[in-house]
């Protein structure tokens, strides 16, 4: 049987109990499947229960080949692809990107200067690698264009009813007034001046209407359905062997990366004058936008996707173990938001700063949950605190948000925590569990610690081959339970938080607890961790997890950010300085 073929019903018959009750004895291949099931059907989260007769399990999740991209019609990637080596300093291909759901909503509000603009949620895009920014997955399909038309008509009607005087300086239906409106509003809606042909096309639409208000409404509605509004263009114009992005394309790229919305008036002015094409002006604008209120939010949005903080909101918790109230969940989220913001913006901190800080921001509710001795003196607002090492570890990895998000409903999860460190901080791909794998951990014997429970993974060789990359890292978190509470004992036994980082080459670095893990991540693995944040931020910035010679871009960002101690702000600004940001080669 060829690879990828599945046994037909006449070849294999399987019932609920896997192999205990084969109804139809068949080929030797089928018996081999049965034997594999039987041999492996006990003892671990992740035993192979149904290899195909040719021995090839079909893998769950598909990762694009190195250097290649996921395209419409191909499944979204499930892990970062290996980077494509830098050979010719290629900046990467031209791109066309539909606005994300968040960008679309923010842009509409900014376009009409109305934070309360009534909007309906139109897009339900997939989450890829923790973000909803993947340009290959952002499409308009099915009823999508209809939803966009409905929204455009509603918004246009609302805008003309409520904001016409700010949208147009004149309201006569003569060609001059019509076209002035079309050029002025159009340049903002499309984030670039309109061509004369575009003006003529919109004017035809306008002129068919009975009044200025009706004409403006028809034009606004059309502009909001236009691909020039809905898609970000990073196409450029031919220059030398590649393409140079226009100052308007640069303005959009800068604004969406650093504020999550359309360019503001000052940025547009810099594009109008051509100044934005100068590196110094681009840098100046980047600094301005990054430190704006929207800039703080945009950086927070990246951090949330990178660290998987959204999981805190959805992760199930068992009330019988501990009642995690919505208010406490929110407090955990807020602690991390404030810590990130303060470290990045007030202290110009790096990932290492985030990992090593002993300080955080807690309110009384969270302080009490953490068992801080001074919790009683805290109020409802989040105040700076410094953790005593005997009370609690500092740093990002000891935040209640992360500890709670990366845990099961009732117990800590060395697997999830180890995987988070491995994939999000070290950027090392873990193979997805083979599809034909039972990933359910068998119940622990009574009184076992979590560590003892998960030892099933190391004693069974099928599990161990992958889990050795995750669990021993996750064991370092064992001083914290599924709700982020510090513990010295579990089920009456002392906590063992020793762990190790097994390298891909087979080496092993032992450590003890979170301080030991953090020490490893900020010294020996410091370069890897910095390179990893560059990789994820590039994905967030460019909406693509890999392209031909993408390593050129990562190297350039790292080299630049290194000059400022890899401060996270410096990483964001370094992205803007890369060739990838302003120049492109032909798209495949």
């Amino acid at each position: 049987m060829a690879a990828g073929k599945k046994p037909t019903a006449s070849e294999v018959a399987v019932n609920e109990s896997n192999v205990r009750n084969f109804r139809s004895p068949a080929s030797s291949a089928v018996l081999a499947v049965a034997a594999a099931w039987a041999a492996l059907s006990s003892g671990c989260e992740g035993h192979v229960v149904g290899r195909l007769p040719d021995g090839s399990p079909s893998l769950g999740g598909v990762t694009a080949p190195p250097g290649e991209q996921t395209a419409a019609g191909m499944p979204p990637i499930t892990s970062l692809p290996a980077a494509s080596a830098c050979r010719s300093n290629s900046p990467g291909p031209r791109a066309l990107r539909r606005l994300t759901a968040a960008e679309y909503a923010a842009t509409l509000k900014d376009l009409f200067g109305d934070a309360n603009l009534p909007l309906t949620s139109v897009f339900s895009d997939p989450t890829v690698l923790g973000f909803s920014v993947d340009s290959h997955a952002l499409v308009v399909q099915g009823l999508g264009a209809q939803q966009l038309m409905d929204q455009a008509e509603s918004v246009a009607h609302f805008a003309v009813t409520n904001h016409l005087s700010t949208l147009s300086s004149c309201t006569s239906t003569d060609a001059t007034c019509r076209q002035t409106f079309i050029r002025q509003f159009g340049a903002r809606a499309q984030r670039a001046p309109l061509s004369d042909a575009d003006v003529a096309a919109y004017d035809k639409l306008f002129a068919a209407e009975a009044s200025f208000a009706d004409g403006a409404e028809a034009v606004i509605s059309a502009m909001l359905q236009s691909p020039y509004f809905l898609y970000r263009r990073e196409l450029g114009t031919p220059e030398g062997s590649g393409y140079q992005l226009s100052s308007y394309e640069l303005a959009s790229a800068l604004s969406y990366l650093l504020t999550g919305s359309m360019p503001d008036a000052e940025l547009v002015a810099a594009a109008d004058s051509g100044a934005l094409s100068q590196a110094a002006e681009l840098e100046k604008q980047a600094e301005r936008l990054l430190t704006s209120e929207a800039g703080h939010r945009a950086v927070g949005s990246f951090m949330s996707g990178w660290l998987g903080l959204g999981k805190l909101q959805t992760v199930a918790k068992d009330d019988n173990v501990f009642k995690l109230t919505p208010s406490l969940r929110q407090a955990m989220a807020e602690e991390t938001r404030v810590l990130l913001d303060s470290t990045i913006f007030d202290q110009n901190g790096s990932v290492a700063s985030l990992l090593t800080t002993q300080s955080s921001f807690v309110n009384r509710e969270l302080g009490t949950h953490y068992g801080l001795s001074n919790a009683g003196s805290l109020g409802d607002t989040f105040s700076p605190v410094t953790f005593a090492p005997t009370e609690r570890d500092g740093g990002l990895l000891a935040q209640g948000s992360i500890l709670t998000a990366f845990a099961t409903a009732s117990e800590s999860s060395p697997v999830q925590r180890g995987k988070m460190v491995r994939t999000r901080l070290l950027c090392q791909a873990l193979p997805p569990p083979p599809a034909n794998l039972d990933t359910v951990l068998k119940p622990a014997p009574g009184g076992a610690t979590t560590r003892e429970h998960f030892s099933q993974h190391s004693t069974n060789p099928v599990c161990a081959s992958c889990h050795r990359m995750m669990d021993p890292i996750g064991f370092g978190f064992e001083h914290y339970d599924a709700f982020g509470r510090r513990r010295e004992q579990e089920n009456g036994k002392p906590i063992d938080a020793t762990g190790s980082v097994v390298s891909e080459g087979g080496g092993e670095q032992p450590f003890d607890g979170l301080p030991g893990l953090v020490d490893y991540l900020t010294t020996q693995a410091g370069d890897e961790v910095n390179a990893c944040v560059v990789r994820y931020w590039s994905y967030f910035a460019f909406g693509s997890a890999g392209w031909d010679e993408d390593q050129c871009t990562y190297d350039a960002i790292a080299e630049q950010a290194k000059q400022d101690g890899f401060a996270l702000k410096a990483v964001a600004k370094a992205i803007v300085k890369t060739a990838r940001f302003s120049r492109r080669v032909a798209d495949p």
């Binding site: 599945k6 037909t8 399987v14 019932n15 609920e16 139809s24 229960v49 079909s58 893998l59 769950g60 080949p65 290649e68 395209a71 419409a72 019609g73 191909m74 499944p75 291909p93 791109a95 066309l96 339900s124 895009d125 997939p126 989450t127 890829v128 290959h136 997955a137 499409v139 099915g142 009823l143 264009a145 209809q146 939803q147 038309m149 409905d150 008509e153 509603s154 009607h157 096309a201 639409l205 068919a208 028809a218 509605s221 059309a222 359905q225 236009s226 691909p227 263009r233 196409l235 959805t314 992760v315 199930a316 918790k317 068992d318 099961t408 599809a435 794998l437 990933t439 359910v440 798209d587």
Partner: protein
């Protein structure tokens, strides 16, 4: 395993087959012939897997003599309509959840192949090809079904999202504030047509200047616009004044509440002939936030009820499954109470309702025994006491999907499911009246 490389995919693109690959493969004879299935409409009710110990009927002495398990006990109210089946392995019985198996018959191995199409999309394409009028070829609804990295059960090469916002779904199906439920004026129709012409022109211009991957995305957009144009041209046959009984908001904070509104939209859409293929998805394969304080049930179904469920013998899952059963019963009752727009009995007389799940056993993560609940339409063989059949592993679950096709008059299965199913590629004869 075989995945489609970017290169071969681009080749497919170049050959012009990837844009709407599913619209063209109906054979000429079938495309010309009107489809004459016993069912005119199909509704898929899609949820996460359950666990067999709480689902399988007990005291089974004959296919029409069994006791419903506790978790399915609310189905007693519509017992005469029910056909419950289980014991059918999928093609990839060990696939983890999120597998496209359930409604495609193909597992992860087929990801990205143009043939990876779920039964709802396959039928919708065949109906279009056969000239069956429907304003919306397929209506896929469900709040937050792609959030948190989750997948729906619907596929067309890639996983398809559902419309999350009830308000957006409502407007898309029944018209927005511009029309306020009434047919659009000639002036508005003309404006819309001119707008679509303009936007189409811009998309085509843009399309000329970009690479093949971006072109493929713009082609999806163009196809989406063509569907609007079809509706504007009156190609839908949609009854005017639809959806009057539905109150929809944009709020999806409470996923279950939003989905109840989606169910109202779905029934209204069927009732006014806006669509013939409709589906509701409860959460994704990864997450469903349950908020039912009246049942003392709050939290994620996947993490809390399935994977932490064994401890309390799936007590929470049982409570939630009963709630789902009540919604299934309400759906069936509503279809029964709604006249068919074609004037022939009730919607239920002409609608096949199918409760489908992404896996067989949600706690043990396998698809050794897929299970379905069927109700409605003249296609089904029913019994006053209901019917329950355990296929005991002898039939691949894809065959139940072929029943759905057959019910809708689609009997040429080329292009759907596993091409290696051979002589087993037939609907299950036990289901057909």
């Amino acid at each position: 395993m075989k995945t489609l490389s970017r290169r071969s995919w681009l080749k497919t693109l170049a050959a012009g087959t990837a844009l709407a690959p599913f619209l063209d493969f109906a054979s000429p004879t079938q495309a010309q012939a009107a489809l004459t299935g016993p069912a005119k409409r199909v509704v898929l009710f899609c949820t996460m897997a359950t666990v067999p110990t709480i689902w399988t009927p007990t005291s089974v002495t004959a296919e029409n003599a069994f006791k419903l398990a506790d978790s399915t006990s609310p189905l007693e109210a519509i017992r005469k309509h029910l056909v419950m089946i289980e014991g059918m392995p999928s093609g990839n019985p060990g696939d983890n959840h999120g597998s496209p198996d359930a409604l495609t018959g193909l597992g992860f191995a087929a990801s990205g192949q143009p043939s990876l199409i779920s039964v709802d999309q396959f039928i919708a394409d065949r109906l279009v090809a056969a000239g069956v009028k429907a304003s919306v070829p397929s209506l896929l609804l469900g709040a937050e079904a792609t959030a948190s990295g989750g997948k729906t059960m619907f596929n067309r090469g890639n996983n398809l999202p559902t419309i999350s916002s009830p308000l957006s779904a409502f407007k898309a199906v029944f018209g927005n504030a511009m029309t306020a439920g009434a047919p659009p004026t000639d002036m508005l129709l003309k404006r819309r047509q001119s707008t679509l012409d303009l936007v189409t022109g811009q998309l085509q211009t843009l399309r000329q200047g970009v690479g093949s991957e971006a072109r493929a995305r713009l082609d999806l957009h163009l196809e989406s616009i063509r569907q609007i144009e079809n509706r504007l041209a009156g190609g839908g046959g949609q009854v005017a004044g639809c959806g009057a009984s539905v109150t929809a908001t944009d709020d999806t904070t409470d996923v279950l509440k939003a989905n109840l509104v989606h169910l109202d939209i779905l029934v209204s859409a069927l009732g006014c002939n806006a669509t013939r293929v409709a589906a509701i998805q409860f959460g994704s394969d990864q997450v469903l936030q349950v908020n039912l304080p009246e049942l003392n049930l709050q939290g994620d179904e996947h993490g809390l009820m399935l994977h932490s469920g064994a401890g309390d013998n799936f007590a929470k899952l049982t409570i939630f499954e009963k709630w789902l059963c009540e919604q299934f019963v309400a759906l069936v009752n509503k279809l029964e109470a709604t006249p068919d727009p074609d004037g022939s009995g009730s919607l239920l007389d002409n609608t096949l309702v199918v409760w489908a799940r992404d896996m067989g056993d949600g706690a043990n993560h396998n698809q050794n025994s897929m299970r379905f609940v069927f109700a409605g339409s003249k296609y089904l063989k029913t019994d006053p006491n209901g019917r329950y059949i355990d296929f005991g592993g002898k039939a691949r679950h894809e065959r139940a999907l072929l029943n759905i096709c057959e019910a809708m008059g689609v009997t040429d299965f080329k292009g759907f499911g596993d091409s290696d199913l051979g002589q087993d590629k037939t609907p299950l004869s036990e289901l057909h009246a």
